[in-house]
């Protein structure tokens, strides 16, 4: 179908009229509603808002924290001995007369464990340093006595071995003669024990000492020279 020029103009005019009418009606209606709403707003400005509990609305999300110890407010400390009354006399505590008359020994004895008496509590008497055994040096096994003679004895002991399976009966005496330069020119079994193996072991020990000191002599201290001009003897007990 084809339209002529007049028909087109007719339809165009009708369409325009229809659009104007629709827009006009819409505009009028909107203005009418707006006017109504405006009247209501004047009555309650928050009427279009959702109504919720205020407390919920204001609650902030809790922060994540470590478990906290609940502290309690400390009780107020009541000052003692201080009177708010400037004229009041200080409170006098009753005197504990029993405490003044305590028998310390009685208390200690009451609580004493009998085993305490068996516990070591140190030497009965403290040694007098440098003097209790006549030594100027020390009192330990390794340090007591004269250091030169102590070292000599140590070297002898290191050289003295006695087999475990042999009888240890007897106390032979072995002697050395030491020169001021520390060498040992002479040794001797001065007193035999009668136990041939034991006597033999002492001779071996003296030989060992002689060998060591001849190879690595330690000069005799001047204060000992008068004594060491004679024999130094060892009474040897296994």
């Amino acid at each position: 179908m084809s339209l002529t020029g007049s028909a087109l103009h007719t339809y165009s005019g009708l369409g325009t009229a229809l659009v104007v009418a629709l827009v006009g009606v819409g505009t009028w209606r909107a203005q009418a509603c707006s006017a109504e709403a405006s009247d209501e707003k004047k009555k309650d400005p928050y009427a279009d808002m959702e109504v919720i509990e205020a407390s919920l609305a204001m609650k902030a999300p809790a922060e994540v924290v470590q478990p906290q110890k609940q502290f309690r407010q400390p009780d107020p400390v009541k000052p003692e001995g201080v009177s708010r009354d400037a004229d009041a006399k200080p409170v006098e505590r009753p005197k504990d007369e029993a405490k003044d008359n305590i028998d310390i020994d009685k208390v200690l004895n009451k609580n004493r464990d009998d085993d305490d008496d068996e516990l070591p509590v140190g030497p009965a008497t403290m040694p007098v340093v440098g003097a209790f055994d006549g030594s100027d040096e020390g009192w330990g096994d390794e340090t007591k006595g004269d250091p030169f003679l102590g070292a000599l004895k140590s070297d002898l002991m290191r050289a003295w071995e006695f087999p475990e399976i042999l009888s240890e009966v007897g106390t032979p005496i072995g002697c050395i003669h030491i020169e001021p330069d520390g060498t040992i020119p002479e040794i001797k079994l001065d007193v035999a024990s009668g136990n041939s193996e034991l006597d033999d072991s002492v001779e071996r020990a003296l030989k060992g000492l002689k060998k060591k000191r001849d190879e690595d002599p330690r000069p005799v201290p001047a204060y000992l020279v008068p004594k060491t001009r004679k024999w130094i003897c060892y009474r040897m007990k296994v």
Binding site: M157, E161, P163, D200, W231, R235, K237
Partner: protein, 442 residues
Amino acid sequence: MLPNEGVKARALRVALLVVAALVIAAPAARADDGVIIDVSGAKRGRYPIAVPVAVDSDGAAAAEVASIASFDLGVAGYFKVLDPASFLADLGTEKLGIDPPKWKDVGAYGVIKYRVVTAGDKVELEARLYEVSKGTSAVLTKTYKGTKGDLRKLTHAWCNEVVKYYTGEYGFFGSRLTYVAKKRGASTVMVADFDGANPYSVTRNTSVNMLPAWSPGGGSIAFTSYMRNNPDLYVVGAGGGRPKKVASYKGMNTGASWSPDGSKLAVTLSKDGNPDIYVISASDGAILTRITDNKAIDTSPAWSPDGSSIAFVSDREGGPQIFVAPAGGGAAKRVSKNGSYNTTPSWSPAKGARVLAYTTRDGGAYDIVTIDLATGTMTRITQSAGSNEEPSWSPNGRAIAFARTGGGGSGIYIASADGQGTAVKVLTGSVTGIDWGPAPKP
């Protein structure tokens, strides 16, 4: 009284006074001679002894005697055998005698000299022991005769005499070990000399055999075998032969330990489902006493030499530990205190001793320790050398044999029971269940 007699009497009195004065003055004179110092505490070590190879003998036989004697004395627990390279003596001149100073100079206290004479298959061993401190006279002389095959046995006999000279008791040389050798899936009960020589099989079956135990007299061996598909208990002659079934209760019949009189056996039975310790008759396996009765696993019984107690392993307190119970039954007492894993107890046969050797786990390995039940003193026998298990004491209680894996090679080792020295390997191979037999009869 005649005047002459008065003069004589006065002279005699004066003489006596002079003698008395001299006697009294003697020590004082000695003290004046110099310094006297008291010393005590010599080092108590092993007895240094020299075993030089005889020069006027059959060369091979002489070398064998020296080798056997050196080994025997070395593991005896009393001696330190000196290195022949240090000897200063002229052996050719000395022959069967000694020049004491030469031996003293190398530190020897004792010297063994001998002569081996062979004639065909016959052999004669003449042996002497010298104590250097006693000069050139031998303190012990023995002569042995036999065949060439007996040379080892004769040398052991001589060494036993040497030990007896010093200690009053024979050594353990010539005693035997029984053990289980594992090979190609089979476990065979074996017997060998204590030094690993002359091994032979006791069992002939191809099944699993385990835990052999010498009878007190050394004539029989009890062991457990799966030869009839259940771990049953058998007894066989030490030379082998047909085993006799002694106990075949349902379940385990294992870990036999003979009573000192040889009439009973302490064993582990699980006939009721749970392993417990029982005493059974050695002849017919009849149950005589139940030693333990609990839900724990009780195993590895060991009868004390005095017959009063039985040691065993139990996990009643968690891990396996050593307990001791009266042989007649009664409450058991835990005796192992160290660590969480202690097994295979073995009693020392030394007279009057109440000492147990056992296996303890130490880190990733196992080691041998002993504990003196009287004092609680523990002694470590092995340390940092492979894994060591299943100790067994020598007949005199001076040495302990055990099985080692790793650390020098698997096999049987012997160590001194005092924990000193180094363990000596006597047999190579994968072995378990070692039991040291009784001393040989002199």
